[in-house]
């Protein structure tokens, strides 16, 4: 897993992001508040590599910690423990000024193209700001850089003086992408970049991101709850559940041969746009909701919803192990000798 070779862009080692909600203090006990200290373990010991030039898809349901993980990589949230190694340096322990410098290489695209652009700034200023901040150009040349970027993402150069509200959702997402590209980054965290868009526009943005990746040799962490989109854009996919990675494999393998019971259920839940397949298909319906990430279930976090759970699952914390070549899964009931949970 964590062989840090020249191949990897970012290596995560036991990365943790906890949010302390308080509670459990003297005051809480006296006033009938929470008896125990309440901690949200949003990211709870994640270890994997993101390889140079790949798109790593990160999937999971809301509240599983996937966005927090993305933010942690850019230090947009405080890292509680573990390491995130980028070019030999640990992002978790960089000083503020080192981190600021580093953000030139590490950029982010956000989900909501309505909320992530300042409505009072023109497109020219939105895309130009990072260029000026990092001193990549000044004066007139900023404007021509901005116009080139706009052209790159498929916006007309004439729109440079316009404001975000004058654009559609898909066009705004293009502005967000242009802003991320402005500093010529190596690595982009795309947090649900297509979720807020119409179907016909989603395809446009996915294709744009793929073209840019080829052209500029970008590495993506593509976060989404849309498994169909992930399947299309990602080279490898990590499945996350309650702060932990439960499966990591080549995109094709995750879809055609999911090993972890949670991945199986997740993939089975996606409706297929083909009525004939849909009529034949058996859906695995998980019961209940995702448990609260505040003090999550003991042992394997998934045992409360898992049809294959045995007593040991309540106590043993599973490790992410290689079950098949380049196919990792964390479930104590499967092993390289016994990869199929149905046979366990």
């Amino acid at each position: 897993m964590s062989e840090t070779n020249g191949n990897s862009m970012i290596s995560l080692e036991d990365l943790k992001v906890y949010y302390d909600l308080g509670g459990g203090g003297l005051f809480d006990r006296l006033t009938g508040g929470s008896k125990e200290r309440r901690v949200v373990k949003a990211v709870d010991g994640v270890t994997f590599d993101i390889k140079k030039g790949e798109t790593l898809g990160l999937v999971g349901e809301s509240g599983c910690g996937k966005s927090t993980l993305g933010k942690a990589l850019l230090r947009l949230t405080t890292i509680t423990g573990g390491r995130a190694i980028y070019k030999g340096k640990d992002i978790a322990h960089m000083t503020k000024s080192e981190m600021r410098e580093q953000r030139k290489d590490l950029q982010m695209i956000f989900q909501d193209p309505y909320a992530s652009l300042n409505p009072r700034m023109t497109v020219g200023n939105i895309i130009g700001e990072p260029i000026r901040t990092f001193g990549l150009a000044n004066g007139k040349s900023v404007e021509s850089m901005v116009q080139d970027l706009m052209e790159t993402v498929g916006l007309s150069r004439r729109f440079i003086k316009r404001y975000p509200h004058e654009f559609s959702g898909g066009q705004r997402q293009r502005i967000g992408i242009a802003r991320a590209l402005a500093v010529d980054p190596e690595f982009i965290v795309a947090d649900e970049p297509i979720s807020a868009l119409d179907v016909s526009i989603q395809a446009q943005i996915m294709n744009l991101m793929e073209d840019l990746q080829k052209e500029k040799h970008l590495t993506y962490l593509f976060i989404s709850h849309d498994l169909r989109a992930i399947r299309h854009v990602a080279d490898r996919v990590a499945v996350m559940y309650l702060g932990e990675i439960v499966e990591l494999a080549e995109a094709k393998d995750i879809y055609e041969d999911p090993l972890h019971p949670y991945s199986k259920a997740l993939i089975s839940a996606v409706p297929v746009p083909d009525p004939e397949i849909e009529a034949e298909r058996e859906h695995i319906i998980l019961t209940g909701d995702v448990p609260s990430p505040i003090n999550p279930p003991s042992g394997c976090h998934f045992h409360t919803r898992c049809q294959y759970a045995i007593d040991a699952c309540k106590t043993t914390e599973p490790e992410l192990v290689q079950i098949k070549p380049n196919h990792y899964s964390s479930c104590i009931r499967i092993s390289p000798e016994q990869p199929n949970i149905e046979d366990a």
């Binding site: 349901e61 809301s62 559609s168 898909g170 066009q171 119409d198 179907v199 016909s200 526009i201 989603q202 395809a203 446009q204 996915m206 294709n207 793929e210 709850h225 498994l227 169909r228 989109a229 399947r231 299309h232 879809y255 259920a265 997740l266 993939i267 089975s268 839940a269 996606v270 409706p271 297929v272 746009p273 083909d274 009525p275 004939e276 397949i277 849909e278 009529a279 298909r281 859906h283 319906i285 998980l286 019961t287 909701d289 995702v290």
Partner: protein, 337 residues
């Protein structure tokens, strides 16, 4: 309810327009469809296609002004809904036709207990007294799969998760065993595993109560497994209307074809670039005289720019709004895929 077939709803040439500063927006512009008893209809379209306005019109929930149903007939079980006085419509809403919305948090009153909100429906429509209504509310929560309904009934909406709130909405909608359930993007705000639960629930309830369902969604995967027939809307018009299997197998409209191709499909995928429909959905306040899809259509010709396309009948149940409907249909049947 009744096993025998028969028309429950028929909508003919419905037009709902909105007066805006930008001009008249023809949100729904001449749509027609029919729904049999016990049948499920899918309405597919992107934002702004008019799919929600069409259904709000059926429920007479269009805010007037700025909106207005300017023409068309809405017959629900033989009753002319459009001509009905509002208090009569109110009697029908919730009792005979009910609606669930995309966002279950904004459609429940956060200040009222679930019990109050559920009881209101049956007290109003079925004349239940408090005790009967309370009991019925617990039964409904049990039907939609809420664990320990006796305990949960006095909770407030914020004490439920998104999926559970949608279940509460469905319980409320089904309280009076309506003949028609309109579900407007019921699972869009939910996670896939919860989406699967809710869709399964709607299927079961449809089978148990014989409810007719209109399912509005932008997700072709959702309609594929849930519906008997589909209408595809674009710019306030019905672009295609067909039985579900036929629509997926042999689409007769370039827009439908494009939509189907632009969905990444995990069941058969080759890893080639995804098909994309170029351009943007049109501004419905300023539509061109020709086909509203013309600018984005890969097989558009001069006629498409100048003349509004005809609604071509392909076979008994299959229609498509396109100058070249027959050709497009022939391509998709003739081993073109």
């Amino acid at each position: 309810m009744s096993e025998q077939n028969g028309k429950l709803l028929s909508v003919t040439d419905l037009r709902t327009y909105f007066q805006t500063e930008d001009g008249v927006v023809k949100a729904v512009d001449g749509i027609s469809f029919e729904l049999e008893k016990g049948e499920t209809l899918g309405i597919v379209g992107e934002s702004g296609s008019g799919k929600s306005v069409a259904n709000l019109s059926i429920m007479r929930l269009i805010p007037e002004p700025p909106g207005k149903i300017v023409s068309g007939d809405i017959l629900f079980d033989g009753v002319d809904v459009r001509g009905l006085p509002l208090e009569k419509v109110r009697d029908m809403r919730g009792k005979r036709m009910a609606m669930i919305f995309q966002d279950p948090m904004t459609s429940l009153n956060p200040f009222l207990k679930i019990s109050t909100q559920l009881m209101e429906v049956t007290q109003l429509h079925l004349g239940h007294n408090k005790e009967q209504a309370y009991k019925h509310a617990i039964d409904m929560l049990r039907t939609v799969g809420i664990p320990a309904p006796e305990k949960r009934i006095d909770n407030y909406p914020h004490e439920f998760s998104g999926g559970m709130r949608q279940r509460v909405m469905i319980a409320m909608a089904l309280s009076c065993e309506p003949e028609l359930l309109i579900a407007d993007e019921p699972t869009t705000a939910l996670d896939v595993t919860i989406q699967a639960q809710i869709l399964e629930l709607i299927k079961d309830l449809r089978n148990d109560f014989g409810t007719s369902v209109i399912l509005i969604t932008h997700d072709l995967g959702v309609v594929a497994g849930m519906t008997d027939k589909i209408i595809v809307m674009y710019a306030g018009k019905v672009f295609e209307k067909a039985p579900t299997r036929e629509l997926f197998k042999n689409p007769a409209n370039p827009y439908t074809k494009g939509l189907l191709k632009s969905v990444p499909d995990p069941a058969h995928e080759e890893g080639t670039p995804l098909y994309q429909i170029p351009g943007l959905p049109p501004d419905v306040a300023h539509l061109p005289p020709g086909c509203p899809f013309e600018e984005r259509c890969e097989r558009a010709e001069d006629i498409c720019k100048n003349e509004f396309p005809p609604f071509v009948q392909i076979n008994e149940n299959h229609h498509s709004l396109c100058h070249f409907a027959k050709e497009v249909y022939a391509e998709s049947t003739g081993g073109g895929e």
